[in-house]
Structure formats: C-alpha cells, structure tokens
C-alpha cells in the first residue's frame, strides 16, 4: 500500500480555505459548512475511495465553533489525524472529532480574548484617533494592526497545528494512544458541557403569581438549577435524533415554538 503524505501545498490549501470560517455561520451547527470546506481539498487527496471520503466529510459537517483566527490551527491538527487514518485504517476515527471538540473550547476562549478583545480594541483606538483628524492613516493602521497578527496566526497556526498533531500521534504505541484519546475525550466533554450551559439560552418570563415583583417561571427554574432547560433540551434532542427523527423537523419545530413563544409571551430573548 502506498502511503499518502500531506505536503506543504496541502497545508496551504487548508490555510486559504479557512479564510471563509465565518462566512456561512448558522445557529444549528455554527461553522460546520466552513470547516468541511476547509478540509475538502485534503480529504480528496487522502481518501481516493468514495465511501471513506463520505465518512470523513460527514465528520466535519458536525458542529464546529471557534474564533476564526485560531481555527486553522485546529484544522492543521485534524489534517495530521486524517492523514494517519488514511494510512492506518485501524486508527480510531472517533478520536478525530473528539480532538476537534477538545481544541475548540480553549482556542475559542483564547482567540476571542486576544483577537476580539485586546487586538480589536487597540487597532480601533489607534485607527479612530487618526481618522478623526481626517487622516487616511486611520483605516490603514486599523487594518494592519489587526490583520498582521490575524494572518500570521492563521498561517503559522495551520503549519504548527499539523506538526503538533504529527508529533502527538506519530511516535506512539497503540496502548498509549488509547489513553490519550480518552483524555482528549474528557476535555471535549468538559467543553461541550460548558458550551451547553453558556450558549443555549431559554428564558420563560411567565409570572407565577400577580403583583409587580412576582417570581417568574425562569427564576424558579434557575433556583432549582441554572441552565436546566438547555441541558434537558440538549439531551432530549440527542435522544430523538437517535430514534431517527430528521434534523430538519427539529429545526422547524424550534423555530415555530420560538415564534409562538414570542407571540404568546411564554418565551423571551
């Protein structure tokens, strides 16, 4: 069997394709379309067999959510794992998505605070102070201060991510790999648990009794357990998905209930 090798130009393809990371954002699976697009070129090379490529593409159509600038690093790590999988069919494929989820949390946290938090504020501060005096340096400096680090992190993130991935899975006995996969799975589950609590929001503003400062259903639920409904809903959807209910129906159901909730006031933003 000939081994399939990732070359520099494949990593460049990851870097270029990941430019679209925020372009097709949606609330169901967030950046999944963009992530699968990022991986598409590499997957085509790694999996000549259509059935293998179908499976790999499906993996990357699952939910993905991370800061745009730090996402190429994840794509780099994932590329090294797909390379491993393509050359070694016994490689545990579930570890690929587990790794993706495990990296998503920390890199989104770091990326948001560095790029959306600090860098944007610095770039805007300097840019605005020049532009206010009518100087063309304003927009130019604004774009340079933000984008030089942005594109450096994107480019070297892709390369470093790939290298880190290769060294992690490369020289490793299979028994150790199992332990590492388990540890990554733990991190992934912590991240998902945290994201369910922070990113799914359900608010029932109905009042329980009369009066101006009456308790609402939501405050009652919060006193039982914060983010209780998001947790229950996530596991409920997980259950009905396993039973074969189509995602599209779930999506429509949520939209309809949300609009009805806004009409009759049993749901609020």
């Amino acid at each position: 069997m000939t081994s399939k090798k990732i070359e520099k130009k494949d990593l460049h393809s990851i870097f270029l394709r990941s430019m679209h990371m925020d372009a097709s954002f949606n609330y169901e699976r967030m950046q999944s379309l963009a992530f699968s697009y990022t991986m598409a070129g590499v997957l085509e090379k790694l999996y000549p067999d259509i059935e293998d490529r179908k499976k790999a593409t499906k993996r990357h159509l699952e939910m993905f959510n991370c800061t745009s600038a730090t996402s190429p690093f994840i794509a780099g790590v994932i590329t090294s794992m797909e390379e491993k999988k393509a050359n070694d069919p016994s490689f545990d494929e579930s570890s690929i998505n587990t790794m993706k989820v495990g990296l998503m949390g920390p890199l989104a946290g770091i990326g948001d605070s560095i790029f959306w938090g600090s860098l944007r504020v610095i770039a805007t501060g300097i840019g605005v102070s020049f532009a206010k005096q009518g100087s063309i340096l304003g927009p130019i400096l604004f774009l340079l201060i933000f984008n030089i680090p942005n594109f450096l992190v994107r480019y070297f993130g892709t390369i470093l991510g790939y290298k880190a991935g290769v060294s992690l899975i490369g020289n490793m006995a299979s028994k150790l790999m199992e332990t590492i996969t388990y540890s990554i799975n733990i991190l992934g589950n912590v991240v998902i648990g945290g994201m369910v609590a922070s990113m799914v929001i359900i608010n029932i503003p109905l009042k329980i009794s009369g009066g101006t400062n009456a308790q609402t259903v939501q405050s009652l639920l919060d006193s039982i357990m914060p983010a209780l409904l998001p947790l229950l809903l996530t596991f409920f959807i997980s259950k009905i998905l396993k039973k074969g209910v189509k995602v599209l129906y779930i999506l429509l159901g949520i939209v309809v209930i949300s609009i009805l909730g806004a009409v009759f006031g049993f749901l609020a933003v």
């Binding site: 430019m19 925020d22 372009a23 097709s24 954002f25 609330y27 169901e28 967030m30 379309l33 963009a34 699968s36 697009y37 598409a40 490529r53 179908k54 499906k58 159509l61 959510n65 579930s94 989820v101 949390g105 920390p106 948001d112 959306w116 944007r120 805007t124 532009a131 206010k132 063309i136 774009l143 933000f146 942005n150 594109f151 028994k175 332990t179 388990y182 733990i186 991190l187 589950n189 912590v190 998902i192 648990g193 945290g194 994201m195 609590a197 799914v200 929001i201 359900i202 914060p226 996530t234 998905l241 995602v247 999506l251 939209v255 949300s258 609009i259 909730g261 009409v263 609020a268 933003v269």
Partner: protein, 259 residues
C-alpha cells in the same frame, strides 16, 4: 446612478469580510473612507467612519450573539450624511432601521436558510456528491453577501421612510421569535456532538463542564483549563493502571515482592 453603482461595489466588498479571513474590511472606520471617496469628500468620510466606529463598538459579535449589522449600518449612515449633509446623530438614527432590518435578514439566514443548506450538504455527501457538498459553503456565503448588499443599496434608493414603513409591517413577534430561536438552536448542534462523543465513561466530565459554567460562572478559558487538568489526572491514572496490567501479566507477580 454612479453613486448607486459605487455604493453597491463598496457594500459588496465590505460584506466579504467574513469570506476573507474575518479581516474587518467592512468596519465603518474602513468603509467611511471609501464612501467619502465616492461622494468626493474623503476627509469628511474618514471623520464620519471614526465616529460611527465608536458608536458601533461593543456591538461586535462575540460567541453566538449577533448585534445590529454594523457593516450596512455604517455604510448607509455615512452615505446619507455625506449626501444630505446630516450631522452624525441624525445619520446614525436614520441608519438604525436598516441595521435592524439587516439583523432580521441575517437571523433569517442563520436560523432557517443556512441550516437547511447544511442539511442539503448532508444529503449530497450521502449521494456521493462531495464536491457539491463542499460548495454549499460558497453558496451560503454568496447568498449572504448578495442579499445584504441588495438590502443596503435598495434602502439607500427607496429612502429611510420606506424601510421604517416595512419594518412596521413585519410583526414584532416574528423578529423576536427569530432572535429567541438563535438562542435555542445551538442545542441541536450540541445534541449531535453529544451523540458522537458522550458516553457513560466520560459522563461525569460533561457535567463537570456544565457546572463550571452554570454554577461557577467560569468563562470558556477557565472551563477548558479545568478540563485540561482533569484530562491530565485521568491520563496519569489510566497510564498507571495500564502499566500495572502489563507488569502483572509479564512480570510473574513481581509486584508482590514488597510483601
């Protein structure tokens, strides 16, 4: 006519920012300069852009929340101001309805159209049309760019009163309903992830992450650090167990020497 074509080009390129490495080319600070160029007063455009940038700052999308659209709001406000000589306050007030309308269009795309396109991509992969599935990303992106550009340019042509008029006819409940859906919908994506990576063996760690955020109010970095620590602890424990297993098999009970 030239104004409209120019505005179309500026808006189109500005809306491509998320297509080009999330590079902020659509921020009011940048578009103000180009709108100024279009109306023959770059200096005024720059000043306008800077003021609008400050007005929109803090409205930037962090995580999953989407603020009123600063790309089309910024362009429209500076165009109106430069054309009619409005002050910044009036221009900003006039651009608010279109920013809200832009948000409505975005929410419609993010809640209904793009998820449907993702499902379409799922189906295309099943049918073996993998190239087309990958291209759904481009179709989604171009849909958004084109739609938001058209909304801005049309709003500029028909004038602000018309937009206000249309907004009045869109039921408030629909606008709120879509926003509520944006908060609930991520549960679907998470449920799919849960089906893939959640199991009894790791269940406690899922709830650990949940508690970190729900009760301890940690942010994502803090929660991830807690996750890394527990992953490290379990790695050490599992490694230890594995080594004991191998030594008890191959070492002929060496570990009993201590007794």
């Amino acid at each position: 006519m030239l104004e409209i074509i120019g505005l179309f080009i500026i808006t189109f390129i500005a809306n491509m920012q998320d297509f080009l490495g999330s590079s902020f080319i659509g921020r009011p600070l940048v578009t103000g300069m180009f709108v100024g160029l279009l109306f023959g007063d770059v200096t005024q455009g720059l000043i306008m852009g800077a003021t609008l940038e400050l007005a929109f700052i803090g409205l930037l999308a962090v995580g999953a929340s989407i603020p009123p659209d600063e790309i089309i709001g910024g362009i429209l406000a500076s165009a109106l101001s430069l054309k009619h000589g409005y002050g910044i306050d009036i221009a900003l007030t006039l651009s608010l309805p279109i920013s809200v309308f832009g948000l409505l269009v975005k929410n419609f795309l993010y809640v209904i159209v793009f998820p449907a396109m993702t499902h379409k991509a799922d189906r295309l992969v099943d049918e073996g049309k993998i190239k087309q599935a990958a291209n759904m990303n481009l179709i989604a992106a171009m849909t958004r760019i084109t739609l938001l550009t058209l909304v801005t340019v049309i709003a500029y042509i028909v004038g602000n009163n018309t937009i206000d008029f249309i907004l009045n006819y869109i039921p408030k409940a629909l606008i709120n309903g879509l926003t509520i859906a944006t908060n609930i919908l991520p549960a679907v994506g998470f449920a799919m992830l849960v089906n893939m990576i959640f199991s009894k063996k790791v269940a406690p760690f899922f709830f650990l992450g949940f508690v970190c955020v729900a009760y301890l109010k940690l942010d994502m970095i803090g929660t991830s650090i807690v996750g890394l620590i527990f992953a490290g602890i379990m790695y050490i424990i599992m490694n230890e167990i594995n080594q004991n297993k191998t030594s008890s098999v191959s070492g002929n009970g060496d570990e009993y020497d201590d007794f």
